[in-house]
C-alpha cells in the first residue's frame, strides 16, 4: 500500500509539471486555434535562464523563478509577434508549420549558444525528507506540487475575475464578436502568450530541478506529453489541461511502476490516439456543433 502511495506522489510530481506546460498549449489553442509546438522550447529556455540566474548571478530562489518567468513571457510575446501574427488570417496549416519551424529553430539556437553537453541545475530548493507515516516525501516534490497548484489557482482566478481574463475568454469564444465589443484582440492574444509562456518557464525550472539536467532537447518529450495532456483534458479548456497533466503524469508513473518502463511512453502516446479516435474534444470538452 505504501509503495502505491509513494508512486502516487511521484505521479503527482511529474503530473504537476506536465499540467503547467499543458496550460500554455491549451491557452494558445483556445485563443487562436494554433498548436504552439514551440512551447516545449519555451520550457527549455526557461530552464536555461533559471540555470544562468542561479549560477552566474547567484540569485535567491524567488528571483530565479520570477526572472525566468518574466524573460520567457517577453520571448513568448516576441515569438507571437514575429512568427504567428503575420499568419493570423492564413490557413491553419501554415501557422502549424511555422510553429514546428520555430521549435526547431529554438532547439538549434540553444544548441549553438549553450552547447549540447548537459548542464547541472544547482539545488535551489532546500533538500529535506519529510515523513508522512511510512511515506517519504522530499521537499523538492512538495515545492513542485505546491508551486504548480498555487499558480494554477492564481491563473483560474485571473481568468474568471479580471477584465483581461474575461477578454481572453471572449476572444476564445468568438474573435469577431470580441472586436465588435471593443476588445483589443492583439493585446489580448499577446497577453495570453505571455501568461502561457510564464507558466511554461516555471514548468521548465521545476523540471530541471527535479531531473537535474538542462540540455537543448529537454523540451521535446515533456512538450509532447504536455500536448497530449492538453488534448486529453480538452484542448482549449484550462481546467482540462490541468486535469490532463495530472492524468498523464499518473499513467506514466504507474506504468513504469507496475507494468514496464519500456511501455510507459508507448502507452502515453497511445492515449493520444485513443482520445482523438473516440472523444477528440477531450474529457472536459463539449461537442459543439456549428449552427448554420
Amino acid at each position: 500500500m505504501n509503495l502505491f502511495l509513494q508512486q502516487l506522489i511521484n505521479g503527482l510530481n511529474v503530473g504537476s509539471i506536465y499540467a503547467l506546460i499543458a496550460i500554455g498549449y491549451t491557452m494558445v489553442y483556445g485563443i487562436i486555434k494554433l498548436i504552439n509546438f514551440a512551447h516545449g522550447e519555451i520550457m527549455m529556455f526557461g530552464a536555461y535562464f533559471a540555470f544562468i540566474a542561479a549560477t552566474s548571478f547567484q540569485l535567491p530562489v524567488w528571483a530565479v523563478l520570477l526572472s525566468s518567468m518574466i524573460i520567457m513571457s517577453i520571448i513568448g510575446v516576441t515569438i507571437e509577434f514575429i512568427a504567428y501574427r503575420p499568419l493570423r488570417n492564413a490557413p491553419r496549416l501554415s501557422a502549424l508549420i511555422t510553429a514546428i519551424g520555430v521549435s526547431l529553430f529554438l532547439q538549434n539556437l540553444a544548441l549553438i549558444i549553450f552547447k549540447p553537453d548537459p548542464k547541472v541545475m544547482p539545488k535551489i530548493f532546500p533538500e529535506t525528507i519529510y515523513k508522512l507515516g511510512e511515506i517519504d516525501i522530499s521537499s523538492t516534490t512538495l515545492i513542485t506540487i505546491g508551486l504548480s497548484l498555487f499558480f494554477m489557482v492564481l491563473l483560474d482566478l485571473y481568468i474568471r475575475k479580471t477584465k483581461q481574463g474575461r477578454a481572453m475568454r471572449a476572444v476564445s469564444e468568438d474573435k469577431d464578436a470580441a472586436i465588435l465589443m471593443g476588445i483589443n484582440v492583439n493585446r489580448t492574444i499577446s497577453l495570453t502568450f505571455a501568461v502561457g509562456s510564464a507558466l511554461g518557464a516555471l514548468g521548465g525550472v521545476l523540471f530541471s530541478v527535479a531531473y537535474i539536467q538542462v540540455y537543448p532537447t529537454m523540451g521535446v518529450m515533456p512538450g509532447l506529453k504536455a500536448f497530449i495532456a492538453a488534448v486529453l483534458g480538452g484542448i482549449g479548456i484550462i481546467p482540462g489541461a490541468m486535469l490532463g497533466g495530472f492524468i498523464i503524469g499518473m499513467v506514466e508513473t504507474m506504468t513504469k511502476a507496475y507494468l514496464s518502463t519500456t511501455w510507459a511512453d508507448a502507452i502515453v502516446f497511445a492515449i493520444l490516439i485513443i482520445v482523438l479516435l473516440f472523444k477528440p474534444t477531450g474529457i472536459l470538452g463539449k461537442n459543439t456543433r456549428e449552427k448554420v
Binding site: 505504501n2 509503495l3 509513494q6 508512486q7 511521484n10 510530481n13 511529474v14 552547447k115 549540447p116 553537453d117 548537459p118 547541472v120 533538500e127 525528507i129 517519504d136 522530499s138 523538492t140 527535479a210 531531473y211 537535474i212 539536467q213 540540455y215 529537454m218 518529450m221 506514466e252 508513473t253 513504469k256 511502476a257 518502463t261 519500456t262 511512453d265
Partner: protein, 383 residues
C-alpha cells in the same frame, strides 16, 4: 513579382549552401610519406563527450611524447580525430573518412561499445588494425582477428564488481538498475548478476530505464522498497549523476556500485556520489612511477588530473606505436601480427593480449568517491 524574386533568391541561397557545406568534408587526402597517420573516433560532444574527449587528450599526449622522442624511425605520427557524437551512423562515416580520405594505417577507436560494434563489420572487412581504448562490450573482439582492446571487458568488470560487493562490502542482497538498449549497461549488469549469485548473494530485484529517460523516481521508489545492501548501476556519468541525486533525495541508504562509465561523476555530482564505489582501469593516487609520470605530463599539458579514459587512450597509442615499430612496416597484416605479440607496460597495467584480442589478467581498480575526489580503494583480480 515580389514573391517571385524572393523565391528565386531563396533557391539560390539554398543551392549555394549545399556547395559550401560539401566543401567542408573534403580534407587533404594525399598520403604523406613522412607521416604515419593514426585515426581516432569517439564522442566529443553530447552526453558522452567526456569519454571521447578524454581518450583523445590522452592519445594526443602520447603522440606528442613519441614524436619528441623521434617518432617511428624518424617519421612523425599524426592522430586524426573525428567526433562520433555517440551516434553509430556518425561513427561509421568517420571511419570511412579516416580510411579513404586520411589514409590512416590503424584506428584507435571507437570509444563507446555501441559505436565500435557498429563499425566492427567494416573494420573486419578492411582488415584494418584496430585498438579500441575503452570499448568494453564482449562482442567487440569476437570473430575479429584485427580488433584489439586496451581495456578489460564488461563481463570481467561486472564480475569484479560483484566480487567486491560480496566480499569487501559484505553485501547479501543487491538490486540492479539497468539501461535497456545500452549494450554496456546490459552486459556489465548481466555479469554482475551471475557472479553475485555465484558468491551466495541474492538479487533483490532488477529495474530498468530507457536510454533517453530522465525520470527515475518510479524505479528508485521500487528499489527503496526492496531495501538492498547494494544497488548496481553501470551506466555513463550523465545518467548515473541524476540517478544518484534522485536516490539521495529519496533517502536511499544503500551503497551504490558502478562500472568504469562512472569516471567523471565526481566533477558535477560529487555530493550525490559521496561514499559510493565503481570499478575502474586505474587510480590517480596509485604510487606506481609509470602512473605518476603520466599524470604529471597530462597535468602539464591539460591542467587537470587525467581520468581512466585518458589513461587508456594514452596506453592505446603507445601500444599501437610499439606494434608498428616492432613490425617495421605499415602493412595491416604486419601490424596485426605485432599487436598480437604485445607486452607493453602501460599506465593501466601490463598489456598482453589473448587469442581474442582482449587483455589478459588485467587488474580491476576499485575507486571510492570521497569528498569530490576519486580515491583508490582496492584491486580485484578475478579468479
Amino acid at each position: 513579382m515580389k514573391k517571385r524574386v524572393l523565391s528565386v533568391l531563396l533557391v539560390m541561397i539554398f543551392t549555394a549552401s549545399i556547395f559550401a557545406f560539401a566543401g567542408c568534408t573534403t580534407s587533404g587526402g594525399s598520403a604523406d610519406a613522412d607521416v604515419v597517420k593514426l585515426g581516432f573516433i569517439g564522442p566529443m560532444t553530447g552526453d558522452a563527450a567526456i569519454y571521447g574527449s578524454s581518450a583523445e587528450e590522452g592519445a594526443q599526449l602520447a603522440v606528442a611524447e613519441i614524436n619528441e622522442a623521434g617518432g617511428i624511425d624518424g617519421k612523425n605520427i599524426e592522430l586524426v580525430a573525428y567526433d562520433s557524437k555517440a551516434d553509430q551512423t556518425e561513427a561509421i562515416n568517420a571511419y570511412n573518412r579516416l580510411r579513404d580520405q586520411d589514409g590512416v594505417v590503424a584506428v584507435i577507436g571507437g570509444t563507446l561499445s555501441g559505436e565500435t560494434l557498429a563499425m566492427k563489420d567494416i573494420m573486419v572487412q578492411d582488415n584494418m588494425p584496430v585498438l579500441s581504448p575503452t570499448a568494453t562490450a564482449v562482442e567487440v573482439t569476437e570473430d575479429a582477428p584485427n580488433v584489439f582492446r586496451t581495456c578489460f571487458l564488461d563481463d570481467y568488470q561486472g564480475q569484479a564488481a560483484a566480487n567486491f560487493a560480496a566480499t569487501t562490502l559484505s553485501a547479501k542482497t543487491a538490486a540492479l538498475l539497468i539501461g535497456t538498449g545500452n549494450p554496456y549497461s546490459e552486459g556489465v549488469s548481466e555479469a554482475f548478476k551471475t557472479a553475485f549469485t555465484a558468491k551466495g548473494g541474492t538479487i533483490a530485484g532488477s529495474e530498468s530505464y530507457g536510454t533517453a529517460d530522465k525520470d527515475f523516481s518510479a524505479q528508485l521508489t521500487k528499489i527503496k522498497d526492496m531495501n538492498p545492501d547494494v544497488v548496481f548501476v553501470p551506466d555513463y556519468v550523465q545518467t548515473v549523476g541524476p540517478i544518484l541525486q534522485k536516490a539521495k533525495e529519496m533517502g536511499i541508504t544503500a551503497k551504490f556500485v558502478g562500472a568504469d562509465g562512472w569516471d567523471g561523476v565526481q566533477e558535477e555530482y560529487a555530493d550525490a556520489a559521496q561514499g559510493n564505489y565503481f570499478t575502474n582501469h586505474y587510480a590517480a593516487d596509485s604510487p606506481s612511477e609509470t602512473v605518476q609520470n603520466f599524470i604529471t605530463a597530462y597535468k602539464a599539458e591539460y591542467n587537470k588530473v587525467p581520468n581512466s579514459f585518458a589513461a587508456l587512450g594514452y596506453d592505446a597509442v603507445c601500444a599501437m606505436v610499439a606494434a608498428i615499430t616492432a613490425a617495421g612496416s605499415t602493412e595491416s597484416a604486419d601490424i596485426i601480427t605485432a599487436l598480437g605479440a604485445t607486452d607493453h607496460p602501460g599506465v593501466t597495467g601490463t598489456l598482453k593480449f589473448d587469442e581474442e584480442g582482449n587483455p589478459k589478467d588485467k587488474e580491476v581498480t576499485i575507486i571510492k568517491i570521497d569528498g569530490g575526489q576519486l580515491k583508490f580503494d582496492s584491486t580485484v583480480v578475478n579468479q
